[in-house]
Amino acid sequence: MSKGRYGEFGGQYISETLMNELIHLEEQYEYYRKDAEFQLELNNLLNDCAGRPSRLYYAEKMTKDLGGAKIYLKREDLNHTGSHKINNVLGQVLLAKRMGKTRVIAETGAGQHGVATATAAALLGMECEVFMGKEDTDRQALNVYRMELLGAKVHSVTSGTQTLKDAVNETMREWTNRVSDTHYVLGSVMGPHPFPMMVRDFQSVISREAREQILVTEGKLPSAVLACVGGGSNAIGMFYHFIPDETVRLIGCEAAGEGIDTEKHAATMTKGSIGVFHGMKSYFCQDEYGQIAPVYSISAGLDYPGIGPEHAYLRDSGRAEYVPVTDDESVDAFEYLARTEGIICAVESAHAVAHARKIAPDMGEDEVMIICLSGRGDKDVAAIARYKGVDIHE
């Protein structure tokens, strides 16, 4: 069995052209993760640039309204660039710079990872190119302009379904084309080893902080932590340091789109099967012949037909559970959080909020729940208005 396994999942299913680069990346990462100077610089970037640690916010009105578990929000939406994506990006771009790379490339769905990568590239003086599905450049036009403002070149990907999956395909092709001076800043806990491990390590700052914060505030561990999952980077970040705490339920909320009984969803865990794609063995939405299925979600960030291999392992080993949440439920939750707590969250994160609304009332008042609010919702306001049939002009 090759490296980077989580049970049977993970691995390095990638073209020979990239193998030496992946081996080199793994060696360099192993070196720098133990290098005190690198860790200090990364920590300074996370604090000074990204604004960490992020707040653990007690959602008092929501708690009272739902009448069950005490609800806390881990405010990744307050990070610089507006989501958890910056945690991983600062780590990878700093690593790329240490490796002597001068150029970074990245895929992006909603644009959050692309904006974060463009930001880190500007900050650390690297050239940056971002690949984004044409459907996403259309529905997230502001993020495209944001990346361009930050000095990145944005490529609109017109192959396949023109969404996140195709953006990953195209970024991989570009990396194969030019690997010597270029690092691929993968945005989620997916792809070939060492990406799932490395991205998880960089994102695990979320649960490291949250666990300390809740112990200080409540003096006990939460009964449940919730996060939305597409590829699964904010979820693994939110879960990681709670994995050994067996009393803590880990709940990933995936995109059910128009419903898991329709063809328009991205519910990989609920409807997918095991396969090998994008460098990893994991669960994927696919047909009986192993063709990757077109997926759908109102949220561009969850609109992906696979999930990171560590999640596949956490699910199959029974440690974490994954539930489907529809567009309608997420939009309701998006509005609910805005009115109840005065927070406009990303429609991705609203999937986790929606599931919290379902389960919190059945939990005891002495129980605590943490929801990872992975991003802020400014980017989604226009799309939500369209979804609600509201005519607005920017």
């Binding site: 069995m1 090759s2 490296k3 691995g11 390095q12 299913y13 990638i14 073209s15 020979e16 052209t17 990239l18 193998m19 030496n20 680069e21 192959s159 396949g160 999956k165 195709d166 395909n169 991989m172 092709r173 194969t176 084309n177 030019r178 690997v179 095991i274 396969g275 090998v276 794609f277 994008h278 460098g279 994927f284 696919q286 009986e288 012949y289 192993g290 063709q291 990757i292």
Partner: protein, 260 residues
Amino acid sequence: MSKIKNAFSDGKAFIAFLTAGDPSLEKTVDYILAIEEAGADLVEIGIPFSDPTAEGIVIQDANIRALKEGMTVDGVFEIVSRVREKSQIPLVFLTYLNPVFHYGYENFFLKCENLGVDGIIIPDLPYEEKEEMSMTAEAHHVDIISMIAPTSRQRIQMIAEEAKGFLYVVSSMGVTGVRSNIETDITSMIASIREVTDIPAAVGFGISTPEQAERMAAASDGAIVGSAIVKLIEKYGDRADEPIAKYVKSMKEAVKRAEN
């Protein structure tokens, strides 16, 4: 016994690629037979996949056309079955791991054996992951063809030592597709391979002209051409028999010239 060595038994080999089901199941059968008649020594049949990450735009589009036509793995086996009624040319599949994984390795390689498929090339199955299916493939006498890339360096000999069938030497960085220049030092890659194995090594990626084919075949045991043939199929649809035959003939002649 794999027929792959026959492809290299009479000097330098010309290897042609096409995507199964583009433009139709029937025409793929016709085109494979036309390619053989025009002098090709081995045919690579692409099993279409929704997300062919190692392919450039020409073969990506062919994959999409074939899937739209309803081509499936079973359809590809039907093509092989029809070809085998008339031809014993060495045949290898080129596809991605997921369609094979989903079909089930045992089922897949049993069918390959029964129908006479000699090998398989899987760009997303590097040396480190080969164990995934190598025992099953071997039990059914199907060679897993390994690839060697311009970036392989110290990996070349590790891969070559365990190679089966032939070695697929990737001429350039990036994805498949026509290139005006190939700058990789193929000669030194081949020399490195020759230190550890006698298995034939053919060069692919970016070759479209007779001059390129001659040059690549001179440095190795043969030339592999995909995108240029798929382009003819894209242009002529189900009337590509003659253009393909004419093109393959010119390429085979170029490869033969490399023997002198």
